[in-house]
C-alpha cells in the first residue's frame, strides 16, 4: 500500500482547514472541486487523489509529506501490531475508531504507541531475565558458588556456636573458614550483581532497533547529505583509479594512515572478524579475510573510508528526534556508514538509470557493479531521491531459524517488528533452493498484493570444518510497481488467480483456513490497517 490515497488523512485535512479558519466551501473553491466531494474526503469516505495533494498542501500551509501521512501510515501499522497482542484479546477494537485516533488525535496515538513500546520492552526484559535465570551458565555457576560459600559459613558457624569443649586450634580453624568463605561470598555476590547488570544493558538495547526503524522510515530510506558526501569522496578516490579494492586501500593509507593487511584461511588469528573484516583503531590496521569474497572486502573498505573521512556528516545525521538513546544512535551510525559506502560504490543517478534500463535485474546489476546480491538489493531500497525515484522496495533478511537479522521497512508494508513473519513468504522457501531466486505474487487478506523476490546468500567458509552460514534476503514491492521489474515477467499480476494467500504473521492474519497457523488471529485488528 504505497500510494498516499490509501492513508486516512481526511481528519487531518479537516483539522488543518479549521485551524486556518477556512470553510469547506472556501477550500473546495480554491481547489476547484465541489464542497460535498471535499466533505467525503475529509470523512475518509473518498481517497484524496495525487493530483490534488500539492495544491491542498500549499493551501493548508504544510509540507506535502506532512499531509500525505507517512507518519500516520507507520502509526497505523504500529497500532495494528500493538493491538494484536494477546493482552488485548477480546476487546473488539473497531477499525473506524483506530483510524480516527490516528487521524484526529495524534498526541493520543503517540501516547498509546509509547506505552505499547514500553510494555513490549519490559516484556522482552522479563523474558531475557527469565532466560538468564533458567539457562545462563554464568548465573548458574555463580549461584552454585554462593550456595557453597553460604553452606560452609553456616556449618562452621554452628560448630563454633554449639561446641563448648573445643580445641583452641580447631576453634581458630573454623573461625578462619568463616572469614575466608565470607570474603568469597562477597566476591561471588559482586559477580552476581555484574551478571544481572548485563541485563540492564541488554534491556536498554531493545528499543534501539525500533528507533532505527523509525529513523529509516521517517527519512524514507534516503539520506541526501550522505549521497552528496559519498559523491565527493568518490571523486577523490577516482583520481586513484575508480573505487577498486586497491584504490580504496591506497586511499586509506594516504588519507588516514591505515595499514590494510590480509589474513589467510589457515591463520590462527581469525577472531573478532565481522563481515570479513576487523578494524583496530589503536594500531590503525584494517585486517581483511583473504578468502572473503572481493565484493565483501571492497564494501568493508569503502565503509571504513566513509567512517573515517566523514564522521561529522554521519554523526550529524543521527541527531534527530527518532533516536533518543546512545545505543540507538550508535546503531543508526553503523547503518549510515553502510548506507554511505553503498552510495559511494553505486553512484545514485548512474545506478538508478541502470536499474530502470535493466528493469531491476539484480543479477545483471551485480555483474555491472561487481557487487553481491545483498549489496545491490540494499542499494535498490535507497533509490528514493525525489525526481529519480526507483521502485519502492522493502527489504528483509532472515537466518535459517527464521530470525529476522535485517529489515528496511516500507511505509504501509506490514513487516513484523516482533516475532517471525508469515512462513509462506518467499524468504523462507528460498532456503529450499539455495542461490536461486524465488518469485512470488502474494495477496494479503485485505486484498493488498505484492511481488516478493527472495534468494539465499552464503558466507564464504575458511575450511571444510567451519559451519556453512546461509541467510535469505527478500525484496518486496507492490504489484502496482512490479511490472517495472524483470521479476514480474510471466507472472499473473492482473487476475490474482495464482497469488499465494499470505498474512503479515499469524497474530495479524485473518486467514482461518491456513494450515501454517500457530497462534490465534486478532482479526479485527488487521482490518484496521488494511481497509482504511
Amino acid at each position: 500500500m504505497t500510494d498516499a490515497s490509501r492513508t486516512p488523512i481526511g481528519f487531518k485535512i479537516r483539522e488543518l482547514r479549521k485551524g486556518l479558519g477556512l470553510t469547506q466551501a472556501q477550500m473546495a473553491k480554491s481547489l476547484e472541486i465541489s464542497a460535498p466531494y471535499l466533505n467525503l474526503m475529509e470523512s475518509n469516505k473518498r481517497p484524496v487523489s495525487d493530483a490534488l495533494l500539492p495544491n491542498m498542501a500549499q493551501l493548508l500551509k504544510v509540507d506535502l509529506e506532512q499531509l500525505t501521512g507517512t507518519t500516520e501510515r507507520r502509526q497505523m501499522d504500529d497500532l495494528a501490531e500493538l493491538s494484536s497482542d494477546v493482552l488485548l484479546d477480546g476487546l473488539e477494537l473497531e477499525k473506524e475508531f483506530a483510524a480516527e485516533v490516528v487521524g484526529r488525535y495524534p498526541n493520543w496515538t503517540r501516547a498509546i504507541l509509547r506505552l505499547g513500546q514500553q510494555y513490549r520492552e519490559q516484556a522482552q526484559a522479563l523474558s531475557t531475565l527469565s532466560d538468564r535465570f533458567n539457562r545462563d551458565p554464568a548465573l548458574g555457576a555463580t549461584m552454585h558458588r554462593i550456595l557453597n560459600h553460604t553452606t560452609a559459613i553456616r556449618s562452621s558457624s554452628e560448630i563454633l556456636g554449639d561446641t563448648v569443649a573445643m580445641d583452641p586450634e580447631q576453634r581458630q580453624r573454623f573461625g578462619q573458614i568463616v572469614l575466608e568463605e565470607s570474603q568469597r561470598l562477597s566476591a561471588a555476590t559482586e559477580s552476581l550483581i555484574n551478571v544481572m547488570g548485563r541485563d540492564a544493558d541488554t534491556t536498554s538495547l531493545h528499543s534501539a532497533p525500533q528507533q532505527v526503524d523509525d529513523f529509516i522510515v521517517h527519512n524514507q530510506s534516503f539520506f541526501p547529505a550522505l549521497e552528496d558526501a559519498a559523491d565527493d569522496l568518490r571523486s577523490r578516490i577516482d583520481a586513484l583509479g575508480s573505487t577498486t579494492e586497491s584504490a580504496l586501500v591506497e586511499f586509506l593509507e594516504a588519507a588516514h594512515g591505515i595499514s590494510v593487511v590480509g589474513v589467510k584461511a589457515d591463520s590462527v588469528d581469525r577472531s573478532g572478524f565481522r563481515n570479513g573484516s576487523r578494524y583496530d583503531e589503536d594500531t590503525r590496521t584494517m585486517a581483511l579475510l583473504e578468502y572473503a569474497p572481493g565484493t565483501t572486502r571492497r564494501f568493508q573498505l569503502a565503509r571504513l573510508v566513509c567512517s573515517l573521512s566523514c564522521p561529522d556528516v554521519l554523526e550529524a545525521s543521527t541527531i534527530t528526534p527518532e533516536l533518543t538513546t546512545d545505543p540507538a544512535r550508535n546503531q543508526a551510525n553503523a547503518y549510515l556508514a553502510s548506507y554511505m559506502a553503498s552510495a559511494m560504490l553505486f553512484p545514485y543517478s548512474e545506478f538508478f538509470q541502470d536499474a530502470e534500463t535493466h528493469r531491476y535485474d539484480l543479477q545483471l546489476l551485480r555483474q555491472r557493479y561487481s557487487a553481491s546480491f545483498e549489496q545491490v538489493a540494499h542499494r535498490l531500497v535507497t533509490l528514493r531521491r525525489p525526481g529519480e525515484e526507483g521502485v519502492p522496495f522493502a527489504f528483509l533478511r532472515s537466518d535459517p531459524a527464521g530470525f529476522v537479522t535485517k529489515r528496511y521497512p516500507l511505509p504501509g508494508f506490514p513487516l513484523p517488528r516482533y516475532g517471525n513473519a508469515c512462513p509462506l513468504w518467499a524468504i523462507y522457501p528460498a532456503f529450499q533452493t539455495p542461490d536461486r531466486i524465488v518469485r512470488q505474487v502474494v495477496e494479503f487478506a485485505s486484498g493488498d498484493r505484492y511481488l516478493f523476490i527472495a534468494r539465499t546468500v552464503t558466507k564464504q567458509r575458511a575450511n571444510f570444518m567451519e559451519p556453512r552460514f546461509v541467510h535469505s534476503v527478500m525484496l518486496m514491492t507492490s504489484v502496482l510497481d512490479a511490472d517495472r521489474t524483470v521479476y514480474a515477467d510471466g507472472l499473473d499480476l492482473d487476475t490474482g488467480e495464482f497469488d499465494v494467500p499470505v498474512g503479515p504473521g499469524c497474530r495479524l492474519c485473518s486467514r482461518d483456513d491456513c494450515s501454517y497457523r500457530e497462534e490465534p488471529a486478532a482479526v479485527n485488528l488487521i482490518n484496521v490497517t488494511r481497509d482504511t
Partner: protein
C-alpha cells in the same frame, strides 16, 4: 561400633565441617572429592552410608548414584544427597535413580547428622 560415612564433596571447607560434625556424632569419615574417587571408595572402603554432592568433577553425583544402584554388591548402600534449595528437577532425577534422602544446601549440621543416623538404622528395600 563406629559407622563409616563416605563424604563426596569437592568444597574443602564443607568437607571439614561435615567431617567434624560426623566425627563428633561418633562416625568415621572417608572423603572423595570427585565422582571417580567416590566409586573407588565404594569398592575399596565399604562405607556404611554416603553423603553425596551433585556438582562434582569427573563424574557428577547422579552418575555416581546410578553406578551404585547398578551394582548388585553395592546397591543397598544408603545415599543422602546434597541438593540446592528449590531444584525440583535435581530431586526428581535423584529420586528416579534411587536416592534415600535429600538435604538442601545451605544445611544445618543437626539436620545432616539426624538424617545420617536415621538412614543408618533404617532397613533399605532390597538391602
Amino acid at each position: 561400633m563406629n559407622k563409616r560415612v563416605a563424604i563426596v564433596e569437592d568444597e574443602p571447607h564443607i568437607v571439614e565441617s561435615l567431617r567434624f560434625i560426623l566425627n563428633r556424632a561418633g562416625h568415621d569419615v572417608i572423603v572423595a572429592d570427585n565422582g571417580d574417587a567416590a566409586i573407588e571408595i565404594v569398592k575399596n572402603d565399604s562405607p556404611d552410608i554416603m553423603v553425596l554432592d551433585i556438582m562434582l568433577p569427573i563424574k557428577n553425583g547422579f552418575e555416581v548414584l546410578k553406578w551404585i544402584r547398578s551394582q548388585t554388591r553395592y546397591r543397598s548402600l544408603p545415599v543422602l544427597m546434597l541438593t540446592a534449595k528449590g531444584q525440583d528437577k535435581d530431586r526428581n532425577t535423584a529420586t528416579s535413580l534411587g536416592v534415600d534422602a535429600f538435604i538442601a544446601k545451605p544445611f544445618s549440621n543437626d539436620e545432616v547428622v539426624d538424617c545420617v543416623n536415621r538412614l543408618l538404622v533404617a532397613e533399605r528395600p532390597g538391602g
